[in-house]
């Protein structure tokens, strides 16, 4: 059994940045990550793409990840790629399975940097082949460099949808149309928030505005104020019916629709440990309850990056560093680099988050995302529709009871796709606020586990 000082879950911007600070200060660090190469979702495939035309088309912020990845590779942290963490015990005993088999790690402290996932936003037909997320399409752009084979329809709200459209156009792809599901924000409020953000982050704001302008000019069609979607087809997507806020209903023909309604902290590991979470109304998401260092309700676990609350890659880097500084403090070490101070990290983090209140407000998801109509499949795995769940919602039923009654959340994704919607349905049925509803309890194994992987633990215990 390996007994490092620090175990980091996730090798994205936060996990790598924390590993670099901690390992350079002399701590024994193990970093476990599900992907075959470091970078997380944002810098996926950066080592292969940097310096190529694809890398350039993906943009400056993408390419900026290469420096961090290179430093991470050389920092001295033990790095286990293609490895899944399937249980973290409250005593910090951590079970992982990867190319080296199943192993147990018993660290002194754990840093969870599992990043984000896209917000599940159910609508009729969203399970059909041909409906995918924008994030999925962007992953394909990074590796292996695939673009939709025909002009593509995108429906969504959030910076990622705009960024993807921009990257796709730069790579020679064609956007057939963009169904903008962003609810209109009162102009006065938008301008106030934009004004405040522009004072300190005008470049980022201008970049976002230029993506919008490009989309407006280059997409075959641009449809604002879309409030409802329906994917049409039997075995494969054939078309999309949409409705605008003004009540106009139209149909388009397409075999591929990319959807996106923002991102959420990936809290599966955090919640399996019973760490306290809270509803963040501004981001319309649950986030862990943390202090200014990323320490949560479990004394020996810290959380950094988008898993701590959506902030983007730059904020994730600084949150990772701050958590690492706290870890050094607790284990009686100091950072190797003199400029790696709490003050510098906090200033950089504050700057990285300047645009966030504006982004959270302008890209707040539409109400329909939380209130699917009766016929919509909510739990993709068990194929349960909103009406099946609502029928089971008599009296005061929590998420866990609803799961027992209906099987919602019991399938292979373990509630990653339906958990938030189920909580929203409960809140609506009982007239409660999301902050008063607990999502499903999460239990290990957190990732699929074969019996032979479990049996591998016998070898592990013999060798230690």
């Amino acid at each position: 059994m390996l007994r490092p000082d620090l175990l980091i879950v996730g090798a994205g911007p936060a996990g790598m940045s924390a590993a670099i600070v901690a390992a350079r200060a002399g701590l024994k660090v193990v970093v476990v990550d599900e992907q075959p190469t470091p970078g997380g979702q944002i810098w996926r495939g950066i080592e292969a793409n940097a310096g190529t035309s694809r890398g350039r088309a993906l943009g400056e912020q993408y390419c900026s990840g290469l420096a961090t990845v290179r430093t991470f590779r050389e920092c001295g942290a033990v790095y286990w790629p293609s490895t899944r963490v399937w249980q973290v015990e409250s005593t910090l005993g951590t079970y992982v399975t990867g190319p080296g088999g199943t192993r147990v790690v018993a660290p002194r402290l754990v840093l969870i940097a599992t990043g984000a996932q896209e917000r599940p936003a159910p609508f009729r037909g969203w399970t059909l082949p041909g409906v995918m997320t924008v994030g999925a399409a962007q992953i394909l752009l990074k590796n292996p460099g695939s673009v939709p084979s025909e002009p593509v329809w995108i429906a969504g709200c959030g910076p990622l949808a705009l960024l993807y459209a921009h990257q796709l156009i730069r790579m020679g792809g064609v956007v057939a149309g963009f169904l903008d599901t962003r609810p209109s924000t009162p102009l006065r409020e938008t301008l106030q928030l934009a004004g405040r953000a522009a004072l300190r982050s005008s470049r980022e704001l201008a970049k976002g505005a230029s993506w919008y302008a490009e989309l407006y000019c280059r997409a075959g069609r641009y449809v604002p104020d879309v409030v409802d979607l329906q994917a049409l087809g039997t075995d494969q997507l054939e078309g999309v019916r949409y409705r605008t806020a003004a009540g106009r209903v139209e149909e388009i023909r397409t075999s591929l629709l990319l959807v996106h309604e923002g991102v959420l902290p990936e809290l599966h590991t955090v919640r399996s440990l019973g760490c306290e979470i809270q509803w963040d109304a501004g981001q319309a998401a649950y986030r862990p309850v943390l202090n200014e260092w990323g320490e949560c309700s479990h004394p020996d676990i810290l959380i950094a990056g988008d898993a701590a609350g959506i902030g983007g890659a730059v904020a994730a880097v600084h949150r990772g560093r701050l958590s690492a500084l706290r870890i050094l403090q607790r284990l009686g070490k100091v950072a190797a680099e003199p400029e790696m101070t709490e003050e510098n990290c906090r200033a950089a983090l504050a700057h990285a988050l300047v645009l966030r209140p504006f982004l959270d407000r302008v890209f707040r998801p539409r109400e329909q995302v939380f209130a699917p109509d009766d016929d919509t499949i909510v739990c993709r795995c068990e194929e349960l529709r909103a009406r099946d769940l609502c029928a089971a919602l008599s009296g005061s039923v929590g998420s866990n009871q609803l799961k027992a009654f209906t099987r919602a959340g019991m399938g292979p994704c373990q509630g990653r796709q339906c958990g938030l919607t189920v909580a929203a349905l409960i809140a609506a049925a009982e007239g409660r606020h999301m902050s008063e509803v607990q999502p499903f309890r999460v239990r290990p194994p957190l990732k699929p586990l074969r019996l032979c992987d479990l049996a591998g633990l016998a070898d592990e215990s013999r060798s230690s």
């Binding site: 599900e34 075959p36 979702q41 292969a48 035309s53 694809r54 293609s82 996932q117 896209e118 399970t127 059909l128 082949p129 041909g130 409906v131 995918m132 997320t133 994030g135 999925a136 399409a137 992953i139 394909l140 590796n143 292996p144 460099g145 695939s146 673009v147 939709p148 084979s149 790579m171 020679g172 075995d235 494969q236 075999s255 591929l256 990936e266 993709r380 795995c381 068990e382 194929e383 399938g411 292979p412 994704c413 990653r416 796709q417 699929p448 074969r450 032979c452």
Partner: protein
Amino acid sequence: MFRLLEDDWGRVESTVTIEIDGYPVIAQIGETVASTLLRVEASWSRTTPVSGARRAPYCMMGVCFDCLMLVEGEGLVRACQTSVRAGLKVQRQMGPRKVGPSC
């Protein structure tokens, strides 16, 4: 549903051949089974155990589990988290998983 960018075409040295339901499919070294599948005409990965409906890769990052496929030597795994290798045999999962040896 997807195609490779033209600058990557024809670089034979960077490809391997895998088998999906017995048919050979050319894949780029370093890509996943799911990203390869999405360039095949029938780009669905499985049918569901509940209604038998077809599903295809949806999230590509391991959180939706709609790309579960039977991969030789590994059992039923997320195709988006499984890298290709020469000769890899992959099957679409039809309905519920049958009991049998997998690894």
